[in-house]
Amino acid sequence: MFSTISHMKSRKESKVIGLNERNIKLIYPNNPKKHYPLADDKVLTKEILHQYDIPCAETYAVIEYNSDIKKAWAYCKKYNTMAIKPANGCGGGGIKIIRKDLDNNWTTSGKVISEREIFQHMAATIMGFFSLGSHDRVLIEECIEPHPFFHEIYPQGVPDFRIITLDKKPLMGMLRMPTDRSDGKANLHQKGVGIGVNMEKGTLTQVYDGKLYYDHHPDSKFVVKDVPIPYWEEILEISVATAKAFPLNYLGIDIVIDKIKGPQIMEINVRPGLGIQLVNKEGLKNSILKTNR
């Protein structure tokens, strides 16, 4: 009981935001429910991003009906690599990255895949297989190649930045990295690690794996402390531009750095998780105070 009370005190000082406070103070007043689809539907998100010329993966095709699959494919075939995604997928389900190998066969995750199988996957997506039974669209887009900066820290998978914005201002950020145990995924709860970001200096701070803090990536031993982030100014710029483009005032923006094109918006999130506070060893309330000072 006493420990709870002492916790309460330190909570006041630490300015941590819990789920209740996030929902009531940040999400409900800032994100009107009618605009959720702009963030939840990847096709709608990209329409707005394209409209404001915010850098993001080039859209090759959007398929709404089964009858359009062949036509869209005829157009997309010329590219060597592409990402096929459900517009309303959840938890990364249904995303397929396909690329041509030396014999001109399509492959996914190192295995050959026939055109017929690709079509079947698209048809299943349209039927709502990855979006809980409702009709969905297929988004075919350019495949982003991660910047070599990431390979130094950890060579595999697709790492991304998460920037939280409130009232069009960046609040807090982190870099999410895959690990040996995370199967190429960068999500914290799928055993990836989060790396804190010093928003003023644009440098990395510490690594958090869900339990402990390190100053290096647990697998590669690359020391991240005070390492400057390439394109940091641009990352902040496109975050602010994105936040301004959407009628949503509390966002989690996911950004990947392409090795040629630089920072690209991957997707935006209206209910960003709170684990970022742990990664940065800082409560969100504190960063709100700092940002608005």
């Binding site: 709870t4 916790h7 330190s10 909570r11 630490s14 941590v16 819990g18 789920l19 209740n20 406070e21 009531i24 103070k25 938890g91 299943a124 039927m127 709502g128 297989f129 809980l132 039974g133 709860h189 803090y213 709170l274 506070q277 742990l278 060893k281 800082e282 409560g283």
Partner: protein, 523 residues
């Protein structure tokens, strides 16, 4: 901001009104607080019809129940025609006897003896070793015509049952198990202890006499106890069971209905000793019924129905009295909001994650019927089994709704099979499966199997465990027998629930589990 202020005023107003209304009723209720707390209440009516003799006077005698620590007899009413004389007599072993006598000849008479019976169940724990018994209980050790405790057959059986036992408790358990294992038969005529052994089948009176005879043979004072199992019906059968004197307390045993050292709430105790409930002058026309009706009551109030209605116009007692709605349905309806509030608290303040928002409340309701432990085991088994069986269907890649239909069908199939197995092999707890809310359980099983795929089985098991925890907490609240009664007398509580839910809805504090999650940030 203005609308917020208005809302706050409205809430305060609602709360004040509710509290004042509750407050007005509290005083008379506290004054009528009943520390007896019966579980059940019945109106019992002995109805006797007879024709008096043509050559002598006629007498009908019956035993009349008394109040004791687990039963209360009240509102006694005797109705009979003026030619009958009524008298109460206390017999030598402490029973109370009602006697109706008449000198009239060849006339028809009716007797109504009515009373309210309120009862509680009792479960006793038996010590391993019993204290020795004083001489004044010798008559409970002596053989009688029908309890032939000194007969060689009874002695043999008693010696056999007493062998290889460590203590008195085990001896009694052996005797009970043996008598319980004798096949039961609806024999109306008198069966003595010896006949019960010889026929190897007996009804309540044969089994009780045999049980008493074996106990007496081994030196445990024992006696027959007579009464009626009250149910909401008219009946003619009375019941007998046995009592053994253990450390100055008479402990009940019913070797027919398997009540070991316990007595259910609906056992009306009427007399002790190997007696007949009714005796009358021989060779007269005689008929009888016991008319038994359940009485609506509130366990913690010493008030009858009219007094409760007068308590306040704001109560749901009129719904109870109208009898249109089954009591269980009304209780369920009233308890749902409370259970919902508890779940809201567990989710938003404690931070427990569950499969399905109100699943814990609904499962807790089913547990009230099924029993806590077996219910919990069944619940987990069903979720795991359905999750396991529907796993291959997950793999095939089916659309969501049809897949749900498959899981639902599997769930229904499992319930039916379990019920059939339960009936075939007489396993009572297996037949209770249909009390579960099937569809909600199926959706929970579906979510569970999806969670194992998406978040890994470790997270899924963790969430299942949290669901069980929430269910247990809901069960603890809902199984409190006073709760429905309180809500019936104080329906204002529903308004208070809305206020509480509003407060919970604006709660921005850290959830308890978040103290753990964000621990590194608090140091």
């Amino acid at each position: 901001m203005n609308s917020k202020a208005n809302l706050r005023t409205a809430l305060i107003l609602i709360t004040v009104i509710a509290l004042v209304s509750v407050g007005l009723k509290v005083k008379p209720i506290l004054k009528n607080y009943d520390d007896f707390n019966p579980q059940i209440a019945y109106k019992v009516n002995y109805n006797y019809f007879f024709k008096s003799k043509d050559n002598s006077s006629t007498v009908v005698k019956t035993f009349i129940p008394k109040s004791n620590s687990r039963q209360r007899i009240s509102s006694e009413q005797i109705k009979n025609d003026s030619t009958l004389l009524f008298a109460k007599k206390i017999t030598k072993n402490g029973n109370v006897r009602g006697i109706w006598g008449t000198d009239s000849r060849k006339t028809y008479h009716t007797v109504n003896y009515e009373f309210i019976f309120e009862g509680k169940d009792r479960v006793y724990t038996i010590p391993k070793q019993f204290n020795s018994v004083s001489e004044k209980y010798d008559r409970y050790l002596a053989p009688t015509n029908n309890i032939q405790s000194d007969h060689i057959k009874i002695s043999d059986l008693a010696t056999r049952l007493g062998q290889n036992t460590q203590n008195d408790n085990e001896v009694i358990k052996n005797i009970f198990d043996h008598v319980y294992s004798i096949p039961s038969a609806p024999i109306i005529t008198l069966t003595d202890a010896l006949t019960a052994i010889e026929q190897n089948r007996a009804s309540c009176n044969g089994k009780s006499r045999l049980f008493v005879a074996i106990c007496r043979n081994l030196g445990y004072p024992a006696r027959i106890k007579g009464g009626i199992i009250v149910e909401n019906t008219n009946k003619r059968t009375s019941h007998v069971w046995a009592e053994v004197l253990i450390n100055q307390t008479w402990i009940p045993f019913d070797a027919l209905n398997n009540h070991y050292a316990s007595i259910p709430a609906n056992y009306l105790e009427i007399y002790e000793g190997d007696e007949f409930l009714i005796t009358h002058t021989p060779d007269i026309q005689f008929d009888y019924t016991y008319q038994i009706n359940e009485v609506n009551h509130i366990s913690f109030l010493k008030m009858n129905s009219e007094e409760i209605s007068e308590l306040s116009s704001i109560s749901l007692w009129s719904i109870v009295e109208a009898g249109i709605m089954p009591k269980n349905a009304l209780n369920l309806l009233l308890l749902l909001p409370i259970g919902g509030l508890l779940v809201a608290f567990l989710r938003n303040v404690v931070g427990v994650k569950t499969f399905g928002v109100f699943l814990p409340v609904l499962i807790a309701f089913s547990l009230l019927h099924i029993g806590f432990i077996s219910g919990m085991i069944l619940f987990v088994t069903l979720i795991l089994l359905v999750g396991l069986i529907s796993y291959p269907f997950d793999k095939i890649g089916l659309l969501y709704t049809p897949k749900l239909v498959i899981s639902l069908t599997i769930m229904v199939g499992l319930m039916i099979i379990a019920t059939m197995v339960g009936i075939r092999y007489n396993i009572a707890w297996l037949t209770t499966l249909t009390f579960f809310p099937t569809i909600i359980l199926t959706i929970a099983a579906e979510r569970f199997s999806r969670a194992t795929v998406e978040d890994g089985y470790k997270m899924a098991i963790d969430k299942l465990f949290q669901t069980l925890l929430a269910t247990a907490i809901c069960y603890a609240l809902l199984s409190w027998s006073w709760l429905p009664s309180i809500l019936i007398i104080f329906p204002e509580c529903i308004l208070l629930i809305i206020t509480c839910a509003m407060l919970l809805g604006r709660y921005i504090g850290i959830r308890w589990v978040e103290f753990y999650r964000f621990k590194p940030l608090f140091n």
